[in-house]
């Protein structure tokens, strides 16, 4: 299961595939975080991936020229070395911290089907979101509104007669 997600992630870096988001959602289900898994599928597969697909459809990706040209010499080998080093360092840190992870195992978390009802995860997460973190939740909604409105303003083609600047050389962005 883990290998599938890792292979799919390699596919993201090489081709344009998004199977790894579903792989991570499967890991969430296996961990018992059901609400996060469903939100992962809805938000990523339902919104973000579709958004990427729309942009690909609008702009088009030419996959022929991408990996041949190398503008900065030695960039790709150095990047690969850095990636392997990052995996090694993080893996060493995780394996080394393995024993200290065993503190307080499994208490305080309502897991569906084991020590609570079938919607225990959602209830506990909702109580946390709307109890302790309600201010951050409101800020998140403000952030989403601002992001959507700003994107509409950025990508809109303004008419020339509106007098909002002539948009530089391209003429389409303002």
């Amino acid at each position: 299961m883990i290998a599938v997600a890792a292979l799919a992630a390699t596919g993201v870096a090489c081709a344009q595939s998004s199977v790894t988001l579903f792989g991570v959602a499967v890991q969430f289900v296996a961990l018992g975080a059901h609400f996060v898994a469903v939100v992962q599928i809805i938000v990523y597969a339902g919104a973000i991936v579709v958004l990427f697909l729309f942009v690909i459809m609008l702009l088009g990706i030419d996959r022929t020229m991408d990996l041949q040209v190398e503008p900065i010499p030695l960039q790709r080998p150095l990047a690969l070395v850095m990636g392997v080093g990052l995996v090694g360092l993080l893996g060493a840190a995780i394996v080394r911290a393995r024993d200290s992870l065993a503190i307080n195992p499994g208490t305080g978390l309502a897991v569906a089907g084991e020590n609570a009802g079938h919607d225990a995860n959602i209830q506990q997460l909702g109580a946390s979101l709307y109890g302790d973190y309600v201010f951050a939740l409101e800020l998140a909604s403000v952030l989403l509104i601002v992001a959507v409105t700003g994107t509409v303003l950025v990508t809109r083609r303004w008419p020339r007669s509106a007098g909002l600047g002539d948009g530089g050389q391209g003429g389409s962005d303002q």
Binding site: V12, V36, V55, L59, V87, I94, P105, T155, G168
Partner: protein, 103 residues
């Protein structure tokens, strides 16, 4: 179901996903794929959040995942909007062509 796979493996997978995203961000020149790699790195962070939340028995990790998803969605929306408006003016531009901020 909790103790079937210990969280070390989830953390290792998370590190692997993060590194793949970082390498992809470094070696790809298409800005669209670079944004996808950033999403992959955020997903890796989410996975480690959930794994440690389950291991430590604290729901706050899953709450943090929720906010990370909100930020990821906002980042994707703004990034793709800027990308569409750049690529509309200059079709086929790669990340190296956009090194100078002249629009």
């Amino acid at each position: 179901m909790i103790a079937v796979i210990e969280p070390t493996w989830y953390l290792l997978l998370s590190a692997l996903l993060f590194s793949i995203g970082a390498v992809g961000l470094l070696i790809r020149r298409n800005p669209l794929v670079m944004v996808m790699c950033i999403e992959l790195m955020l997903n890796a962070a989410n996975l480690s959040f959930v794994a440690l939340s389950v291991q430590l028995g604290n729901i706050d990790g899953q709450t943090a995942v929720f906010f990370v998803m909100v930020v990821a969605a906002a980042e994707a929306v703004v990034g793709l909007g800027i990308l569409v408006s750049i690529l509309r003016a200059r079709p086929g531009a790669t990340a190296d062509d956009l090194a100078e901020l002249k629009g």
